[in-house]
């Protein structure tokens, strides 16, 4: 009984060791690569005569960014103007009502 338990534990231990080794082989380099980002740029330089290689098309990202900023600002100004207009309208309405009550 004890012997079979000890054998069982050895098998489990071996399985764990093999599993850990496989995990390290498969995921280790990927994890290590993921944890090491490329070096940051410490300076921006204008492009020279040779244009920079374009792996991912830049134009949609650039246009998207400008649409987001200008669109976002436009809609915020619109929302602010509407809110302000609505509240000012209410203020005028209540001021009128208060005047009427004062007269009454």
């Amino acid at each position: 009984m004890l012997l079979s338990m000890s054998k069982g534990l050895t098998v489990v231990r071996r399985a764990l060791v093999v599993g850990a080794a496989l995990l390290a082989l498969a995921g280790g380099p990927a994890l290590a690569a993921g944890n090491q980002p490329p070096e940051p740029q410490d300076e921006f330089r204008p492009v020279g005569n040779s244009p920079a290689p374009e792996q991912i098309p830049a134009a949609p990202l650039l246009i998207g960014a400008y649409i987001v900023v200008l669109g976002g600002l436009f809609f915020y100004v619109l929302s602010l103007s509407r809110r302000l207009g609505a509240v000012q309208q209410d203020v005028q309405r209540l001021e009128g009502e208060l005047k009427r009550r004062g007269r009454g």
């Binding site: 980002p37 940051p40 920079a52 830049a58 134009a59 900023v69 509240v87 000012q88």
Partner: protein, 218 residues
């Protein structure tokens, strides 16, 4: 609205019309190419995203100390601008990063602390909206954390390992890139002042409305 508001709004509008022309004429960056030009709107948005929580935090501290409604209104207005400019920064940043870094997002100190700052702005607004009585003081406490987070966001790129460019890129920019950048910074700063003025006006009108409702009930 104050007398200066309309001329300032016209000037701001003109600056936003001219800015794409200046940006289009600026050279591409040697390593990133054309996508670098997102920087001209990303960086000013990010600076306003840092300015807004500072205004919110300072006004909240004044409100907690002096209990004046004017400080509270200023804090509330700045919190909304924190969320607005934070959203613009956190959207334009990944659009730039996708091309420049090959990934939309990395969990480094700059990006994570910016996200935290943006969420603090949301927490302030949610507290004010749903917090009930006393939420103005609670939100003011939250705003202090938002302001304390700002220096951390700013210096994070200089002290922690990250692929985000450090703060030193701005003073090193050549004139051809620096002029459009500073033009955009002033355009965004003017816009920030205008939006703060409008938002403060809204808060003042709401306060007046509340007072009128009370007067009508009596």
């Amino acid at each position: 609205m104050p007398k200066w508001f309309t001329p300032a709004a016209i000037l701001c509008g003109l600056m936003f019309v001219v800015s794409p022309v200046l940006i289009a004429r600026a050279p591409d960056e040697s390593a990133m190419g054309m996508v670098y030009k997102i920087y001209y709107y990303h960086m000013p948005s990010a600076w306003m995203f840092l300015l807004a929580p500072l205004v919110c935090g300072f006004s909240s501290a004044m409100f907690l100390a002096r209990d004046r409604a004017k400080d509270d209104r200023r804090a509330f207005a700045a919190a909304e601008l924190t969320v607005l400019f934070g959203a613009l920064t956190l959207i334009t940043g990944p659009l730039w990063a996708r091309r420049a870094w090959g990934t939309w997002w990395v969990w480094d100190a700059r990006l994570t602390s910016s996200l935290v700052g943006w969420m603090i702005g949301w927490a302030y607004l949610i507290l004010r909206r749903y917090g009930g009585p006393g939420s103005d003081k609670l939100a003011a406490g939250v705003a202090l954390f938002g302001a304390v987070n700002v220096p951390f966001i700013y210096i994070s790129v200089n002290y922690w390992r990250t692929i985000h460019p450090p703060t030193t890129v701005v003073p090193r920019l050549p004139v051809s890139m620096g002029v459009p950048l500073w033009f955009c910074v002033f355009a965004f700063l003017l816009l920030f002042v205008l939006l703060m003025t409008m938002r403060l006006r809204l808060e003042a009108a709401r306060t007046r409305l509340d007072a009128l409702y009370v007067a009508l009930d009596e």
